[in-house]
Each structure stands twice: as C-alpha cells, then as structure tokens.
C-alpha cells in the first residue's frame, strides 16, 4: 500500500463524526505503517499540519493508531522501531504544534531511548511543548529523571513549575535540595510543589519544615500544604515509620487550633487512631 492508500483506510467526518470506520482496513494500514519503517512514518508525519492550517485528520489518526497498536507485551521491537522513527522527526524543522502532537504520541509508545529527543523541549514554552515533554517523560518513567534534574536549574517561568512537579512525580530523592529551596520560593505554586515533592519522597526529616510552611501559607496554600502533611503522615505510617507519622498528626492538631480547623483536628485524630 502506498501512503495515500494507507491514509484512505482511515475515515473522514460524516455529519461531524467518524461514524463510518472500517476496522479491518485500519488494522491493515497500521501493519503497513509498522512494516514501512522510518521512511513511511516520516512520510505520514510530513502530512501533519499546524492546527488550523488544513486537513490532516487522517495522518493524525494513522500515527496515533500505530502508537497505540505497538503497545503491549511482545511488541517491543515494533514499538522501539516506531518510537525511534517518531523521535527522529522531532529534529526536523516542523511547526511547534506538530512537534507537540509527536511528543504526545511518544507519551504513549516512547521509551528511555527516545527520552533525549523529548527532553530537548523541557524548557520550550511555545505551544506548551515543555508540558508535553514533561508529561511524556513522566509516562516513560524513572529512567528519564536525569533530564528533569538537568533542566530544572535552567528553567524559568511556567516550565520551572512543570519540571519541578515532574521530579516529584518521579519521586526523585536526589532532588531533595531542589524541593527544600522551592519551599522558600516567592511563588506560591512553586512553594506548594516543593512541599508536595517532599511528601512524594517520604522525607520524614523534613516534616517539621513542611508543617512550618503549612502554617505560614494562607487560604488555598494553607489548604493544600496541610493536605500534603497529612499525606506524608500516611506514607510514613505505611512505611512503618509510625513514630514520625504520630509526630505529624500531633503537630497538625496543635498548629491548627482555630475554630474552622476542627475537621483537621478530627482528621489527625483518625490518623492517630489508625496508628494504634
């Protein structure tokens, strides 16, 4: 099948939706894309346009369907081959909106071997590429953590928060100093992300600092910071660190002494009861 025949297997909207879709024809087309290797993938990627610049419904559908179908046990060779082909197109001169789509497909089928190509966009603010890049790397998992560590000190603006959060998603204990510094940041969302990241790595030794910060925060910040302290206590209890968990619950009870905090004190009591 040539590229046109492959793409014609995928439907165009009828009455606004993709109602007439031929499963067998699509599956055969996907097999052709996989067996066509890097060149076939590139040919189809070349037909994907910046959103709003024309009709690319079929090429997007074909690439996504292939990214999905190379998943699962026993497809490692096809998956790596297709993901490598996709990643190689990120080096080309393409619109950022198209690169965003490619990265999102790598979130589905990419692996550690493609991480370098994806991580190149961690600090790229255009078309939210930093966000797509971080999410794809987070989906691939812990093997990508070094990219976040390298990108964070260079990050500014929106990517900074996203990369910091990524380090928390990956529960990177080596980034503890980043998290502690973030907790003192002037930006509330960075501070909250710092507390959340410390909770994610179950950092018992930082519990006092986290509690202290939760007391300083106001409004939404206080709600979330306190929640992260509760979550830390639960994680520590689950890890067998009952003494540390107990300390957190007791301190929450003491520090949240206002009338409107009654439910927090009750929650701490429930946590304490569960420790026994």
């Amino acid at each position: 099948m040539n590229t046109k025949e492959i793409l014609n297997a995928f439907p165009l909207p009828e009455g606004k939706i993709l109602r007439n879709i031929d499963k067998n024809a699509c599956e055969r087309a996907i097999e052709q894309i996989i067996s066509g290797g890097r060149n076939k993938t590139r040919e189809i990627i070349d037909l994907i346009l910046e959103p709003g610049n024309g009709d690319d419904i079929r090429p997007r559908h074909a690439i996504h369907a292939t990214a999905i179908r190379v998943g699962g046990t026993g497809k490692e060779i096809e998956r790596n081959s297709f993901a490598s082909a996709l990643a190689s197109t990120l080096n080309d001169d393409r619109p950022k909106g198209v690169k965003g789509f490619i990265i999102r497909q790598l979130q589905i089928c990419g692996g550690a071997k493609q991480a370098n190509s994806i991580a190149h966009f961690l600090n790229d603010s255009e078309e939210h590429l930093y966000e797509y890049s971080a999410q794809a790397l987070e989906a691939i998992g812990i093997l990508t953590v070094e990219h976040f560590r390298k990108a964070y000190p260079l990050a500014k603006g929106a990517p900074r928060l996203t990369i910091l959060q990524g380090l928390g998603v990956l529960q990177d204990k080596k980034s503890r100093q980043f998290f502690l510094s973030a907790m003192q940041d002037s930006d509330r969302e960075i501070r909250l992300a710092g507390i959340w990241c410390l909770m994610r790595i179950s950092s018992a030794k930082d519990a006092e600092l986290m509690l202290s910060q939760s007391r300083k925060e106001k409004g939404w910040g206080r709600i979330k910071a306190t929640a992260y302290c509760f979550e830390l206590a639960e994680k520590l209890a689950k890890n067998g660190q009952s003494k540390e968990a107990k300390g957190i619950y007791i301190k929450i009870k003491k520090s949240h002494s206002e009338k409107q905090d009654a439910y927090l004190r009750e929650s701490a009591d429930r946590g304490l009861a569960q420790l026994q």
Partner: protein, 418 residues
C-alpha cells in the same frame, strides 16, 4: 468578599453563642464536630460548574437540607453570574477560580458539575477544605483520580455522593436485593452470568468532531483554567459546553456520559462495589487521538466469572462470546439457597442529605462511585487500546502491559496533581 446575612440561621446562633463574638462571625457546619445536626440548621452551599448539568446537580445537593447559596463558580463568568441571579437574585458571590471559592469560611456543601476532567481535583480540594460534596458523574477521568478521591474523603471524614441515584431504587427492589445477597454471599463459585447493556450509551451523540482548528477564546472564558489538569490544547468551542463529552481530554464519550448511570445500580445489584473486573475484552476500531468514536462491544469479566457486557448497537457486530443470562437462586444448591433466604437485607442506602445530617456514608459513596467509574474507564481503555487487558483490582494496574498502565494515571498539567 460578599458576606451573607446569617442572623436567621442556626449556624449563626451557634457561632455567637460559642464565642460571644460579633454578628460577622460565621461558624461553618464542619467545625461543629457533633454527629447530629438539627434539621433547622442552614448549610452554606456553592455550585462549581454552572452550565449544563450544573443547576440540576445543585438541586440534588439541596434535597432535604436547609441551604443558602453563598457561591457560584465557573471558568466562564457569564455562567456563574446567571446561576447566582437565578438561585439567589445575585446575592451569591461569583467566582471564576474554584480555589478562591474554597477559601470561604462559610461554605459547607459543594455541588460539582464541571466537565469530568475537573471532578477529582475539585472534589479532593473541597474535602481538604472541610466540605461535603455531591459531584456530577462520571466521577473521574482516569482510574488513579478515583483512588485519590476515595483516600481524601476517608482522610477528612467528609460525605461524598456521586450524581447518579439509580442504586437507591435498586436497593429497595426485592429482585435486586435477592441478586445482591446471592452475589455478596460468596456462595456463587464460577459464576456464568452475563449481564448485557445494549444501546443507550449515546456513542454517536457524544462523538467528537476532529480537525476543527483553533478559534477565538470568548472574553468571559478562562481557557487555561478550563484545560486545568488535562493537556493544554488550542481553544475550539466544541471542546466546551456539553460537546466536551466527545474529547478524550475531558470525558470519554457516551460511555462516560451515560455509563455511570447504567452500571452504578448494576454494580450495587451484583455486589461489586469493592472490586473491579479482571479481564476486559473489546471489539473496536482504532481510535482517534482527540475525539471519541465508534465501538461495537466490551466484555468485562470479574474474578468470580460474572460478566458485564456493553454493546453499543451503533457500530459493528453484535456480542456473541457468551449467552446472556442473569444470576439465579437456582444456580445454588438447596443448602446454599437456604443460607441466602436467611440472610438479612442489606442496610438501607442513605441519601446525601441524610448522610450529611448523620455524618455517615452516603449510598453513592466514594469507593462505590470509583469502582463504577472504573468500569467505564477500563472499557474505554480497552476500546482505545484495541486489545484484551488483564487488570489487578487490588493494585489497580494492568498486568504485563506497561503501555496500558500509562493511561491509568496520566501525568497532569502543573500545578494540578493528585
């Protein structure tokens, strides 16, 4: 922030009595701490997500309770204003950002009727702020969100009710109660029952429209906040206002729009409130990256052999893997039948209002709502992935399928996280 005159409410009376303070002091319900709430007490309420199902969801929140609307919130300011006008003559404060609303000290109950990609994050935040929640269905957008909601409501001892109520009728229906007893008894081994839902899942109605392209964002809409935890995409009007249902980023098609209505009562009837299917088999064509589309059927098998089947009736072949048949007392030995007949009926399910007053779990509690939402999410993932999936209902992960697992807890856009 606008203050409500609370001089006529029991809450205000308690507040003044307790503190001897000024009339401006408002004591919210969740600080009283007592399990019993006198029926005269007035609850401060708010609606988050004021378009579409919003007003209906808010009415469900208020049933059987004395309430005062104190806040209306929507990422589209026009919708919040319209709701405030309609339900409080404009007295209720309007918000575009739910975080500001949840900072209020006079709020007890929150109705959530945003598109589903926001349900979990807002439900959790409301619990963290000490509020009880009635949330529109589907409960969540993906599996890990549901577990986070369950944990949050357990942690804070708050009441949660999902916005579907079919299980309340089922729990009063004799035939359903009998099935519930049979399935919850543990006496049914190697169950061969197949429960079919054919049609009614609005597959075509809630399929999305691909390839529209970016449009101008309305002045009254905060588009970035609308996208929230979901991946940011260029604004298209069909991604909002009801047609959002046809996009993977926000809901999951007719399956997620209607599925919780259909399968929440079924889940209660067949006693599956605390577990999930172990094997999911789909028949569906390759899905589009952005919009939901066609599928033929999905079979969801539980550990005891019981199966739910969904057949769209709108595309593809009919389901023919197993004959459809219901659970029957005749499936059991005479001895086991006697055991079933001597079992007490299950406890009546509490409405949201009663649960709030009694500080007990509502009928549509978080674990049940989560497990019902999982039926839809697992079915949709099998449809999207086009392959049989094996699922561990305790660990809530797919077995030997790392790529499938990426869809159970997809990364959120910062600053949103669970």
């Amino acid at each position: 922030m606008k203050k409500i005159a609370y001089s006529q409410t029991r809450r205000s009376f308690l507040s003044k009595s307790a503190t001897g303070a000024t009339a401006a002091s408002i004591l919210p319900r969740h600080i009283l701490g007592a399990p019993y709430v006198p029926p005269s007490e007035k609850f401060g309420t708010a609606l988050i997500g004021c378009g579409g199902r919003g007003p209906g969801t808010y009415s469900q929140l208020c049933k059987g309770l004395d309430v005062e609307l104190v806040g209306a919130c929507d990422v589209d300011t026009n919708k919040a204003k319209r709701f405030s006008l309609a339900r409080s003559k404009g007295k209720a404060e309007t918000y575009q950002d739910f975080r500001r609303l949840l900072e209020r000290k006079d709020l007890d109950l929150v109705a959530i009727a945003t598109p589903p990609h926001w349900h979990a994050s807002i439900s959790i935040a409301a619990a963290e702020a000490g509020m009880d929640v009635l949330c529109e269905k589907p409960m969540t957008r993906f599996v890990a969100e549901g577990r986070a909601v369950v944990n949050a409501f357990k942690r804070y001892g708050r009441v949660y009710q999902i916005g579907t109520f079919g299980r309340f009728n089922r729990s009063n229906d004799k035939a359903s109660i009998l099935k519930h007893k049979i399935m919850s008894s543990g006496l049914m081994k190697d169950c061969n029952a197949v429960r079919m839902k054919k049609g009614g899942l609005k597959i075509k109605q809630w399929s999305g429209t691909p390839g529209i392209g970016p449009q101008t964002i309305p002045d009254t809409l905060d588009w970035d906040l609308y996208c929230g935890p979901s991946p940011w995409k260029p604004y298209e009007s069909r991604r909002t206002g009801g047609t959002h249902r046809g996009y993977w980023d926000y809901e999951g098609g007719g399956m997620c729009d209607m599925g919780q209505h259909h399968f929440d009562p079924e889940q209660w009837t067949y006693a599956k409130d605390h577990t999930s299917p172990v094997e999911i088999t789909p028949f569906a064509p390759p899905s589009h990256p952005e919009v939901t589309g066609m599928w033929a059927w999905v079979e969801l098998k539980y550990a005891d052999g019981f199966k739910f089947v969904m057949e769209s009736g709108e595309w593809g072949p009919s389901y023919d893997r197993h004959p459809v048949r219901d659970v029957s007392l005749d499936d059991l030995s005479k001895v086991d039948q006697d055991k079933i007949n001597s079992m007490p009926d299950p406890e009546p399910l509490l409405s949201f209002g009663e649960a709030v007053k009694q500080r007990k779990q509502a009928g549509g509690h978080p674990e049940a709502a989560h497990r019902a939402a999982c039926i839809l999410h697992l079915a949709n993932l099998a449809i999207r992935l086009g392959r049989k999936l094996k699922y561990d209902p305790d660990k809530e992960i797919f077995i030997n399928d790392n790529e499938a697992n990426r869809f159970l807890n997809p990364p959120m856009s910062a600053p949103w996280r669970i």
